[in-house]
Symmetry: C2
Subunit: 356 residues, 2 copies
């Protein structure tokens, strides 16, 4: 440390879920952004005891009205001067509409001030994974209506399929999906996270993200970053990825003279895919992620041995033992970011974007 935060003063509105224990949603996103110097306003859409992957939890959701009221509270005290907004999991269509309204409101304010680059919305369209929808059906059309107002979206492969209506089975269909997102919605920046297609130049046991910043004619400028898969199950990685993209995108744009003043921070057409701020940001984010996940996985192995022993010793029987093991596993898999802050600031690993 000592060399200061990587971004200038940056005020971010982060809207996502809050868990008392563990690291998903705003619980990981807010800390990630604060650690890198952002002043984060954290609007929590739920307060749950723990994330739903444990299969049991307590707590309450925040209503659409409460979300709107909290935003009005910020407005009336001149606290709505946000440079960026990150929205993650929002429970239900009505609450999502309320969040979308906030983003559109902030966008309109920037337009009125004739400062088009002064507000940037990163939208993580949390709907499902691996073919399973884990939000209500009526949430999908709400996201489709909101994408056009966002500056950067971060769908996983399944969510990209839902939004683009293109089934992704290989590299050509992935390209078509990105094209559809740019052309149909006019969304300037897209990163599709955790693409698991096999490809001749991609080693097995690896994953990739594929990103693109559109040109003025809404053409794709796509890059790919391949990174080794880690043989552990984690929660909250998408939320951490999104939060770090907020910071690193801001940093990369700040380091490109004039870009921060352009609407949606859209690079000129002459800029190559591999030179995009989006690509530079994703490279750094993946390096930090890979280090934190590797360290979490190492600690997890030790914890799981202990958990196994505890369950074997315990008084539970049959299903009770299985349930306890699942709960202890879920806990052992919580991201260990607070123990490895240096991986955020200055990761030692490097990943490089390649042409897609």
């Amino acid at each position: 440390m000592g060399d200061g935060p990587p971004v200038p003063d940056t005020r971010v509105l982060a809207v996502a879920s809050h868990v008392v224990s563990g690291y998903v949603g705003n619980k990981i996103a807010v800390f990630s952004m604060q650690s890198l110097g952002c002043d984060v306003a954290a609007l929590n859409t739920v307060q749950f005891s723990n994330h739903t992957g444990y299969r049991q939890w307590t707590g309450t959701r925040v209503s659409a009205q409460e979300i709107t009221d909290l935003y009005r509270g910020l407005q009336q005290s001149y606290l709505d001067d946000f440079d960026m907004m990150l929205s993650g999991y929002v429970p239900g269509a009505q609450a999502l509409e309320a969040v979308g309204q906030i983003a559109q409101d902030l966008k309109a304010k920037a337009a009125r001030a004739e400062q088009p680059g002064s507000f940037f919305w990163v939208l993580d369209p949390v709907m499902g994974d691996n073919g399973n929808l884990y939000v209500a059906q009526d949430v999908v059309p709400v996201y489709k209506g909101l994408i056009a107002h966002a500056d950067l979206i971060l769908p996983n492969q399944f969510e990209a399929e839902l939004l683009s209506e293109v089934k992704i089975i290989d590299m050509p269909s992935l390209t078509r999906a990105i094209e559809a997102l740019h052309s149909r919605y006019g969304i300037p920046h897209v990163v599709i996270t955790s693409v698991s297609l096999t490809h001749p130049d991609q080693p097995t046991k690896s994953l990739s993200v594929v990103g693109s910043t559109m040109t003025s004619a809404r053409q794709t400028r796509a890059f790919k970053i391949v990174f080794p898969a880690i043989d552990c199950y984690f929660s909250g990685t998408g939320d951490m990825f999104a939060a770090l993209m907020v910071v690193r995108m801001r940093e990369a744009v700040w380091n490109t003279p004039g870009l921060a003043e352009r609407a949606s921070w859209l690079s000129e057409d002459g800029v190559d895919a591999l030179e995009l701020p989006l690509a530079k940001a994703a490279e750094k984010v993946l390096a930090s992620m890979h280090e934190v996940l590797t360290k979490t996985c190492q600690a997890m192995d030790v914890k799981m041995e202990r958990a196994q022993a505890e369950v074997v010793r315990g008084e539970e029987e049959g299903e009770g033992k299985e349930k306890k093991l699942h709960l202890l596993k879920s806990k052992a898999a919580e991201l260990r970011l607070v123990r490895h802050l240096d991986s955020l600031r200055a990761p030692t690993i490097e990943f490089r974007a390649t042409k897609f």
Copy 2:
């Protein structure tokens, strides 16, 4: 960075208010502890748009039942394995009783396991300041009932008066107040924050904290740390102080062989006041605080000039102008911790405890 967190793996339950924008309650406490490597479970007792010093806010309180439910949620998933607990502002007597029950429950669990030092409760009895009570009258007796179960309390001068029933007007009465807290409640560790009594050996424009760890016979072992006052009005300093005390107390105890296994981390009678882990912790905490507050105050001056100009230019009149200026001032006074993380890890200033 790079030299790792100052504490071993530490799981803290933090119970306090949450504000969307700004830095009071859990919003500053959770980040402070996470930045120093603690795994913090954040149980938010309210979600307000901003702190009440702005004189207007929106949001909702969490009920006593919801607080209890969230804790039950942690328990049922083996997530109640806390090393420490920090409780701050809790809205109302019923909610405070629910929080007190959680602490007593965790204390009882540690006792049943015959590991008396394995749980440590830091209780910040948030009731008022400078002669003004800002909680309901019925909250005071609840705190009086809970103090006996806490390990460390951090009242300000006014709160120390309420709890000890000793009016603090000079050094002898301050000593009597601490004596009363140790003897009546058996509270092992006390730090009275922001003592503003004048004293021959204390320069004007300075403040002090006075702390004491009792002996086995409940005698006081008091120390004082004098530090320069900063001519700025801040919010959230008490919450940041409490959070940092959690971490630095854990660190100081960890560096004292055998102490972590003793009930309430109570040093042996032979340990001098100035050698107490409580004194070592408070020295480090005040150094960090002083740096962050100094930097916040510097940035505030610049922001206030801008705010003044904005208000003069604005369309508001009379009371409207005053209100706007107050709101902009409140915002400018928010702690700038996220921009100065190095002041947490490794402050360059040093303060030393002296005999009281």
